[in-house]
Symmetry: C2
Subunit: 246 residues, 2 copies
């Protein structure tokens, strides 16, 4: 773990999907529960592939188009729903009524935290203002925090700025709402690209790799030794708390 150097960090902003919560395990787990509830054959859907497509096409690709100005603004809830409708049609799943589909779409509001996330955040909260800074919409992040017991001091979402990370408006908008200077704020993420986008705006950076984000044995999308280096690299949120004297 590298050392934080000498600067006064007052607030920590956290990427959420993958960094704080294990989206993939929860989506697979709830999908399989839904399948059991309806008595579907176990081989009807490859649920890990379903989850990966939902994430990759419904979220990552769609958010990227909006961030680049190639598509009009829409909330992540809506982006998720568009992809879910496509997936259900693709798998010829037509037994779900509207409330069931809506509830399934909101699985992203009910994602489970990594085991170190809540205890780490509780320690970090004593000394720092802590908040998510996610592309997830405001209600999604608020509901997730309530569901998972994430002890945020406030909710910050790209929705407040009607664009998405990695656009600098998101990082600088969050800093401005907190009434701080960029160098007083540290972005925490499991994705080097998020930190590399935050740094030019003046934010500090902490890298917390999550090698299991894409499942056991998946080829991780993150380099093992990211370059350039970040202000802190920590194995999990407990190590981050220790590195930040909490």
């Amino acid at each position: 773990m590298s050392t934080p150097g000498t600067f006064t960090v007052r607030a920590l902003l956290f990427d959420v999907f993958g960094t704080v919560v294990d989206w993939r395990s929860t989506v697979i787990w709830e999908s399989k529960a839904l399948a059991r509830h309806h008595g579907w054959p176990a081989d009807r859907v490859n649920w890990p592939a379903f989850a990966d497509t939902w994430r990759r096409e419904g979220y990552s690709a769609a958010v990227g188009r909006i961030a680049r100005g190639e598509a009009p603004w829409a909330r992540v809830d809506e982006l998720h729903r568009r992809q879910l409708d496509e997936l259900l049609a693709g798998y010829s799943i037509d037994e779900l009524d509207e409330p069931e589909i809506d509830r399934f779409n909101r699985v992203w509001h009910r994602l489970a935290p990594w085991p170190d996330a809540v205890p780490g955040l509780i320690r970090l909260r004593h000394r720092y203002t802590i908040a998510p800074l996610s592309n997830g919409n405001f209600a999604l992040l608020t509901n997730m925090a309530k569901h998972a017991g994430l002890p945020w001091d406030c909710i910050l979402s790209a929705e407040l700025f009607h664009t998405y990370k990695p656009q600098p408006e998101v990082y600088l908008g969050a800093v401005d709402l907190l009434g701080l200077q960029p160098q007083e704020v540290m972005m925490v993420a499991a994705h080097a690209s998020d930190l590399e986008a935050a740094r030019p705006s003046g934010l500090r950076t902490a890298y917390v790799p999550r090698p299991l984000e894409h499942g056991e044995g998946a080829s991780t999308r993150e380099p093992v030794a990211p370059a350039p280096p970040f202000d802190i690299t920590a194995a999990d949120f407990l190590a981050l708390a220790t590195a930040l004297d909490c």
Copy 2:
């Protein structure tokens, strides 16, 4: 206490200054501590009058001008500071350096809750999403929550909409961020005017009078029996929690 009737409320939005926190007692208390620290004579400043002017002119009047479009947008921190500078000049107080003035100005980030506020919110939080919806700026509300232990699920501030209550954009903007319908949201306030402004946007209303907001023996600005009636009238947040089955 009146009954809530039959509707599904999912979120409670709270006015803050006066409703959740006792701004006047805290401002007077911190002002007197500052005076003692500097060894000022006890009769140099009438601190209750100082606090009342700060609130009335620096906040209420200034926010009103912005809400009516008569003045450009500015954060409450800045409005407070403008009035503080005027007050200090008016009392010929020139011994404070910039960090002391800045810290004094941020007394509004450190206001103490009414005694029932935190225990009431803790009960309400089990069943509802709870958030401030205040004209106070986002950082002020975030810092206040951390200082006072207010267990909000998220922070909602008029700052997010660049206008002030009683403009409908504030109430409807908050409802939209929560992903709810107006009738699923209840505004809680000690000021009938706030509730009367929220109602036409479709929000439910709960009136919690705070007869001591302006001090013992002050002629309260609130009617004893406000009309028209609100969905709920409760003596304090504990009674509100009971009325809302928490």
